[in-house]
């Protein structure tokens, strides 16, 4: 049955409405954090050793001389319109600084998610097919190990092995420092720099996806409709992918959505370990430079992205499974 545009629009609208309280919660939390911190919020937002003029400017900018509720409304209004204040270090709008770094992060995160999803699904399905065999046990143990490795340590080990000892791949950065390539050579250079960070980032998600897909597939393969399909003479591949996986996919998509927050945290450490010039690195620099508007802004921005990804995964689930569509 083809799915019409109205169904998707209705679904999106529903999820959008569900996302509103979450966005509100994020903004409220951030506002609460800034007020919760000991000392004068203006002094915190202004960073170390601000001039009295700058403090006054911050106070006026955030309305810190007004009552709390008015301050909150002002903060909320600014946050949802993308006005996250001014970065102290860069002396530019926080949103502008974030957008500048965003593509680099999307590049490794997106690649890692695609790699992890494809491999994770294939591994999960393959091990469910052989559930109980020694190959299945080996895959399960390996995925538990992968899931237990702290991302930054895995990254460090990969650097030690592939960059320092074997000298096959660069230790970090996005492009070679001593050369400036153009065209295809540039793409090749960036791709080479991406291998280790993407691998590091993908391992965690891959193991999560493989584990959940395996469980969901075992359950799906046990259902009557699979037996019926088998009795009707469906091929092994059709049974696995058309009948069983289409039902297990809801779990897989849900996991990707739920773990996305953890993936973003992983991006922060991966970008530090591999000196990748993205949003995570920016987050880290903001901690060090005590650039609080940038820190809180980057936090709100990442949280909004997490909410959007969860929304997309919810909609995808509903499209995959008509029972969820209400």
């Amino acid at each position: 049955m083809p799915i019409g545009i109205p169904v998707i629009a209705r679904l999106l609208l529903r999820r959008l409405l569900l996302a509103v309280p979450l966005v509100l919660a994020v903004v409220t939390l951030t506002f609460f954090f800034i007020r919760l911190a000991p000392g004068d919020p203006a002094a915190i937002l202004a960073g170390d050793a601000p001039t009295p003029e700058f403090l006054a400017q911050i106070r006026a900018e955030y309305g810190l001389d007004k009552p709390v509720w008015a301050q909150f409304l002002a903060f909320l209004g600014k946050a949802v319109t993308g006005d996250f204040g001014t970065s102290i270090y860069a002396n530019r709008p926080v949103f502008e600084v974030i957008l500048e770094r965003f593509p680099a992060t999307v590049l490794i995160t997106g690649t890692a998610m695609i790699v992890a999803s494809v491999l994770g699904i294939v591994i999960g399905v393959a091990s469910a097919k052989r559930a109980g065999s020694s190959a299945d046990a080996l895959i399960s143990s390996a995925s538990l190990v992968g899931y237990s490795l702290p991302g930054f340590w895995l990254g460090q080990l990969l650097i030690l092995l592939f960059a320092v000892s074997l000298n096959w791949l660069p230790t970090g950065g996005m492009t070679a420092a001593r050369a400036s390539y153009h065209g295809f050579r540039h793409v090749q250079d960036v791709a080479l720099h991406m291998v280790l960070p993407v691998t590091t980032l993908a391992v965690f998600l891959l193991t999560m996806i493989a584990r959940f897909t395996r469980t969901a597939m075992i359950e799906a393969l046990d259902q009557d409709y699979v037996l019926v399909a088998e009795a009707k003479g469906a091929s092994r591949g059709r049974l696995l992918w058309h009948h069983a996986f289409r039902n297990a996919a809801v779990t897989t998509v849900t996991v990707i959505g739920l773990e996305f927050g953890a993936v973003l945290a992983g991006v922060v450490v991966v970008e530090i370990v591999f000196a990748w010039p993205g949003l995570g690195r920016l987050f880290y620099d903001a901690i060090y430079r005590r650039d609080f508007p940038l820190l809180t802004g980057a936090f709100m921005f990442s949280s909004f992205i997490v909410i959007v990804v969860n929304m997309v995964s919810d909609v995808a689930c509903a499209l995959l499974d008509p029972r969820i569509r209400r």
Binding site: P21, L22, A25, V26, L29, T30, F33, I34, L36, A37, P38, I44, S141, L144, V145, Y147, S148, L149, P150, F152, W153, Q156, L157, I159, L160, V164, T171, M208, R211, F212, R214, T215, T251, T254, V255, L258, G261, A262, L264, A265, V268, V269, I272, V273, F283, Y284, I287, Y288, R290, F292, L295, T296, F299, S302, S303, V306, I307, N310
Partner: protein, 296 residues
């Protein structure tokens, strides 16, 4: 528990905590291989940390001229850039990592158990509200929230424990809620309610003992996750510099990654072995994240 053995099966649930726990332990007597391996890993690390003073006489904070030495007889795991013995730093650092892990897990499991029991037991609007809050907490990037809070409030072990504990309860809450929903309709609960027990008493005396086994699983996974979170914060420089944990050691290792492989390798092995061990314990006992399943 004088009458614990003689009571008929449906009423056995009404016996005390001690009997239930003992019966639970007896049930897990035949432990799965994964759990045994996990316990072995955790025991190796635990004993090493506990008997640190017997394993090395070095002071983890004492500076010396022997900077960045590779592993040798005098320094089995080498030394760092300030000449401090790495073996001592790994062993004593484990005390910090494990303490933060344990204390924040106690906090998060306690919170999760309370919220899960209340939501599962009362159901209705209360359940709906609590579960929406739980979902919101699950979607929020927990570690990024922790980073922002610790940056603003200041680093320190107490802050780390509080932040990690207060952010990690949703997984436990969901598992416990699911379990409570199942036992909510058992006869012994109805019997207790009919005999006039208050809801507090029903929850504490009849429901709680029945979720204990799930709590053990949850706790071991929570300790693992809390240790991971602590190392994440420390790696970002938000740990307590006066109490160096494994994460802090790895942060220092990052600075000398190309000169001193040992600074990264050994603290990382200790950290990964502990997390893997605890995950194996939890996973083997049947409550792994994969077994628990994601939200419906």
């Amino acid at each position: 528990m004088k009458d614990g053995v003689t009571i008929a099966a449906p009423f056995a649930a009404r016996t005390g905590w001690g009997t239930r726990l003992f019966a639970g332990l007896a049930r897990v007597r035949r432990l799965p291989a994964a759990t045994v391996w996990g316990l072995v890993f955790v025991a190796i690390i635990g004993l090493g940390i506990l008997f640190a003073p017997l394993l090395t006489s070095a002071d983890p904070l004492a500076l010396s001229q022997d900077t960045l030495l590779a592993p040798s007889r005098a320094h089995p795991l080498g030394t760092d850039d300030l000449g401090r013995d790495l073996l001592a730093r790994v062993l004593y650092g484990g005390r910090v990592s494990l303490s933060v892990g344990l204390f924040s897990a106690v906090l998060s499991v306690g919170l999760g158990m309370t919220i899960g029991m209340v939501a599962g037991f009362f159901g209705g609007v209360l359940d709906e509200v609590l579960m929406r809050i739980t979902e919101a907490f699950q979607i929020l990037p927990k570690l990024l929230v922790a980073v922002v809070v610790v940056s603003l409030v200041g680093s320190g072990l107490a802050n780390e424990i509080l932040v990690i504990g207060l952010l990690s309860w949703p997984a436990t809450a969901r598992v416990i809620r699911g379990r409570v929903q199942v036992i909510r309709h058992e006869e012994f609960i109805a019997a207790a309610e009919m005999s006039g027990a208050s809801w507090m008493r029903v929850l504490a005396r009849h429901v709680a003992p029945n979720v204990l086994a799930f709590l053990l699983v949850s706790a071991s996974l929570q300790v693992a996750s809390a240790i991971m979170s602590e190392s994440f914060l420390s790696f970002l420089g938000l740990g307590d510099p006066t109490h160096p944990s494994w994460g802090l050691l790895l942060q220092q290792g990052q600075l000398f990654l190309q000169q001193a492989w040992w600074l990264t390798t050994f603290p990382g092995i200790a950290l990964a072995m502990t997390i893997l061990g605890l995950n194996l314990v939890g996973d083997g006992l049947g409550g792994g994240r994969a077994a628990a399943g994601p939200r419906k």
